[in-house]
Subunit: 342 residues, 2 copies
């Protein structure tokens, strides 16, 4: 399986690390042989149609930025779209930064990949949040797969769990703590009795929150994930603009203390049910399995026959998200094998 890696930040480097490290390990036992034939970002690309060796992938990381300066394989300032179009490969792994205004440039990369017959694995919520119904249709139309496990739950396979393990049941509703940053802030406020501003400053100090934290604390990240769950798991074809979004800026220490009197706390919840998709802070009982603290994520699937099922794990992290990419690559390989047989 030949792979074009688009984006070379934390997740992109994580992907090369995992492929390099695990190539000789377990992957081999799945009969799966991934080859990175190109790495592209805004500064250019490195290309090797025969695939970069695990050693070479490791070296790229140590050389520092930009990789397109590599004397043997570098193509400085080659546009990403040209790389996707011209390099022969089966899969594009798209791990560029999120943009929820117009989803670019990721949206163009993904559609270019589809149009040139390439499957796409992405960890980028932007294109999915803004255009998931259209993107899944376009993938089908071009007879390729679109996979995005890393967009929800990071390393925790929330999407796969619902798809693969709850087959034969009916999922009636989904509710989750889908953003680690806001969960850290709310947990800190409650446990250390500090204000929202103090907790946010702590989260920024620890690297859990960005300097421009709006994406997390205004609920947009949670809303993007809610859109993805809604489309993929519930079959409700919505986009970001159909989600009713309230962030956590207005949550005060006093509100948390009042909730605690009833053995509750306040969490930022994304919910999908018959009433649509909504993101807002809400009281959750201490004994509710959803009630996880720190940067953990949790999601509860309300099923018709097997009651509520809750999955908890770390929602982010470069290497965890890179591992989700690996799971998606294995899934595509598995799907292709079944197709060949049918």
């Amino acid at each position: 399986m030949r792979i074009i890696l688009v984006g070379y930040g934390v997740v992109g480097k994580g992907v090369t690390t995992i492929l390099a490290k695990r190539y000789t390990e377990k992957i081999a036992s799945y009969g799966f042989s991934p080859k990175v034939v190109a790495i592209a970002d805004v500064d250019g690309a490195v290309i090797n149609p025969r695939g970069f060796s695990p050693e070479k992938l490791e070296k790229f990381k140590q050389k520092g930025y930009p990789i397109s300066a590599d004397p043997d394989f570098g193509h400085p300032s080659m546009p990403v779209l040209e790389v996707i179009e011209s390099v022969e490969a089966e899969v594009v792994v798209e791990v560029t930064p999120v943009n929820i205004k117009n989803a670019e440039p990721a949206l163009s990369y993904i559609t270019k990949a589809f149009k040139t017959g390439k499957h796409v694995v992405t960890t980028n919520k932007g294109p999915l949040a803004l255009a998931m119904p259209a993107l899944t249709e376009l993938a089908e139309h071009n007879n390729v797969f679109l996979r995005f496990s890393g967009t929800v739950g990071g390393g925790t396979p929330m999407l796969e769990f619902a798809k693969r393990c709850l087959a034969g049941d009916k999922i009636l509703a989904i509710q989750g703590i889908l953003n680690g940053t806001t969960n850290y802030i709310l947990s800190e406020m409650g446990q250390s009795h500090i204000s929202f501003q103090e907790a946010l400053a702590n989260a920024q100090k620890l690297g859990y929150a960005e300097r421009e934290p709006s994406m997390d604390i205004d609920g947009f990240d949670t809303a993007c994930k809610t859109v993805i769950l809604s489309n993929w798991i519930m079959g409700k074809k919505i986009t970001l603009k159909e989600v009713d979004i309230t962030g956590i800026r207005e949550v005060t220490l006093e509100m948390l203390q009042n909730a605690a009197k009833n053995r509750n706390t306040i969490k930022l919840l994304g919910t999908i049910d018959d009433n649509g998709a909504i993101v807002k802070p809400a009281e959750v009982s201490w004994t509710n399995p959803l009630c996880v603290s720190g940067v953990l994520n949790a999601v509860t699937f309300q099923t018709e026959y097997s009651a509520d099922q809750t999955l908890i794990g770390r929602g982010a992290g470069g290497i965890e998200t890179a591992n989700a990419v690996l799971r998606d690559l294995l899934d595509i390989r598995h799907k292709l094998a079944s197709k060949l047989l049918s």
Copy 2:
């Protein structure tokens, strides 16, 4: 798919309910067409080679015991082994009571099914706890499938989660609260400040504990599930006698109160790691996702690349366990379809 149902207690009746109810619903959309051709228990059997209609299955339930008295299809006192041997079917669904002394009669039923070329779905921990390595070998030898989702986690797909969603990762250790009865007792002791004996009596009153509660409170049920997780998920081929087992009889209110001072509680944990398999009460932090209360079950998979992942749900219940049987039947059907194609 023709099914022989062996055992007609709560789970057995639940299986017929689910098949009857869901036949017209979602199952059809999977292209899956299950037919119950026989129901057998210690008193005899009902047999219909063309399959019982959903209406007939509902009627059996309402008629009361024993079904073998049915004037049209009844075979009073026909031995179960003879039913398994003589009735043509693809799958035996074995849901008889658990026996962890010698696993009989379920063990004989399952081996007879294998030897006559039938796949087996069981919810019975006994045969697996005592002979899982041998049974999986025998199934392979006879080229049939053995499935047992309902034995661990009831309706919560703990086994499938680990197998299907963590593929491509390495599971380093498993730790879980695998028994709802003991979890209810320990939760009640801590929350209502009562003794073990009082909490046990409450659990018995509510139907959460048996009159003869040893299987649960002495840790045997947890140990059986630990054996199944060890064999199926970790590939460590052990049986019940290799598990170091301590139950909860010695857990006192004072121990729980002391733990609470450190924001911990005491849970009965089944653990599988490099040191082997062990069942014993242990302190767990309130903030540990495993720390669920009441009759909930929870299991944490410690993975190499995706950190800890915890799955929480109801561990028991007739209809939930019956739904696990349905999931297993769908899985076997899926596996058979892949086989045909290859």
